[in-house]
């Protein structure tokens, strides 16, 4: 009797949607609040996922420029300065094209209450007594090119350096807290003897030889810790993995509690709703049509929340550089980068979010209505 006739089916679904919307409209405030709350949960989740995913993507590309191997020296389990003669020893290992001692360290600037990273480039282009600073340093210390840059040296004296220039802003993601200076200035400021480096960077042209080189280093210098570029990449994979991170955990908890609220709301079919289902059945609606209305009810709320949350998250992360997430990154630091990540609307992410938000909510709305929808239509006459 009932063959599937597409135009009729579509028209029927539109009628059912009409009814659903009228029905939701009766408790407009409550349903709008519910949708808004759900949209906020989606927004938070989508923001974190988009942000970390975009950041990971950029990190992977940027860190391709990182040294092939960095060799640290460990003393009693702590990172320590490495003797300069090891540069020579390391460069003799097969597969190593070049070994270079690096000088870098942290400096706490008490006036700006900021941690800065001092770094000696391989070829510093400034003169002695000059520094090149990152945008973030310029912002927090309010130092502009040409201005003095006082630093408290390790011997207690104040050394006045001069800002030569700032590192251009688009590279803030890697350079915001950098202070680049010459080797003699670095050694003088921090009291590092000339025969010591912070660590040693190796160039290993053949990627396949890297693990072998690392193993050899561990064998020849048991107190050293070689860090390969693959390990650096793995670190960033791990820390920006969307499953890790308390934010996602907190949001998952929010999602869960929302689920409980939604379930409670949906499963506790009110007497009114039960009566309404009875009426619909009595005037000739079929069980499947009653369930379709319930499915639409769940879909209208969750789909609206999903679309609104997703769009807001995109704007938040990629148009306004995630102002709500930066407090987390900023943490207790006063110096932080300002950057706008590469925007992505990853289909996998979008469909995952869709499946996580729309499907469970719709199911949670339909299932509790099942019993009410399958009761005999004459129940409404007996009540």
């Amino acid at each position: 009797m009932k063959r599937l006739h597409i135009p009729t089916w579509l028209e029927r679904q539109r009628y059912l949607l009409d009814f659903t919307l009228s029905s939701l409209g009766r408790r407009k405030g409550k349903n709008l609040a519910l949708t808004a709350l759900y949209a906020m949960v989606v927004f938070g989740l989508a923001s974190v996922l988009m942000y970390t995913q975009a950041l990971r993507g950029e990190a992977m590309r940027i860190l391709e420029g990182a040294p092939d191997v960095v060799v640290q020296r460990m003393v009693a389990g702590r990172h320590d300065l490495i003797p300069a003669d090891r540069v020579e020893r390391l460069s003799r290992i097969r597969g190593v094209q070049e070994a270079r001692g690096r000088l870098w360290g942290y400096y706490y600037d008490a006036s700006a209450k900021a941690n800065l990273t001092f770094l000696v480039p391989e070829k510093f282009w400034g003169k002695a007594g000059e520094v090149v600073i990152g945008e973030g340093v310029a912002r927090t210390r309010l130092a502009a090119p040409g201005e003095p840059f006082p630093v408290l040296a390790s011997d207690g004296s104040v050394v006045i350096l001069k800002v030569r220039e700032t590192v251009p802003s688009p590279s803030e993601l890697v350079s915001t807290d950098l202070v680049l200076l010459s080797e003699p200035d670095f050694r003088r400021l921090f009291g590092v003897p000339p025969d010591l480096y912070t660590d040693i960077a190796l160039t290993v042209p053949n990627e396949k030889e890297v693990p072998m080189v690392a193993a050899k280093i561990r064998g020849q210098m048991p107190d050293s810790r070689p860090i390969t570029r693959a390990e650096i990449a793995r670190t960033y994979e791990a820390i920006l993995d969307w499953r890790s991170g308390l934010v996602v955990l907190v949001l998952a908890a929010a999602l869960l509690s929302f689920g409980i609220v939604a379930w409670d709301k949906a499963s506790g079919l009110s007497a009114d709703e039960r009566r309404e289902i009875g009426i619909l059945k009595a005037i000739g609606w079929d069980t499947s049509e009653v369930l379709a209305v319930k499915a639409w009810e769940g879909a209208v709320i969750s789909l609206s929340a999903f679309l609104v949350g997703l769009l807001l998250a995109y704007v938040h992360v990629f148009v306004t550089s995630a102002p709500l997430l930066t407090p987390v990154l900023k943490g207790w630091s006063t110096l932080y980068p300002s950057f706008r990540l590469t925007p992505t609307l990853n289909p996998f992410l979008v469909s995952t979010l869709f499946l996580l938000t729309v499907v469970p909510y719709t199911v949670a709305t339909v299932v509790p209505a099942w019993r009410a929808a399958t009761t005999d239509p004459d129940a409404v006459m007996r009540s």
């Binding site: 860190l63 391989e122 650096i232 820390i239």
Partner: protein
């Protein structure tokens, strides 16, 4: 207007905005691509190993160079006490 049409129009509008976002991502992605390339070459030139995302702790500033047990310096099971640690977990062993 019919209620169902109003809702479908809303969905269509949202999808259209999503498409705008996609176009924006393509456009802005090309722009940002140059910047990322610049940062990669800066990393090569200066020998950078990490992103300067957070500066409140050594393991947050240079996660790849930090001691493996840095987050647990006070106690092996001590709770994370830097806010940035909520986003940047300690590296795996």
């Amino acid at each position: 207007m019919r209620k169902s049409d109003r809702f479908l129009l809303f969905v269509a509008g949202a999808l259209a905005l999503l498409e705008v976002a996609r176009l924006h991502s393509l456009h802005r992605g090309r722009e940002r691509n140059e910047e990322v390339r610049g940062m990669a070459s800066m990393a090569r030139r200066l020998g950078l190993t990490d992103l300067s995302l957070a500066t409140d702790a050594r393991y947050a500033r240079h996660p790849s160079q930090a001691d493996r047990f840095a987050p647990f310096q006070d106690h092996p099971t001590s709770l994370e006490h830097f806010p940035s640690g909520t986003l940047i977990a300690p590296p795996p062993p």
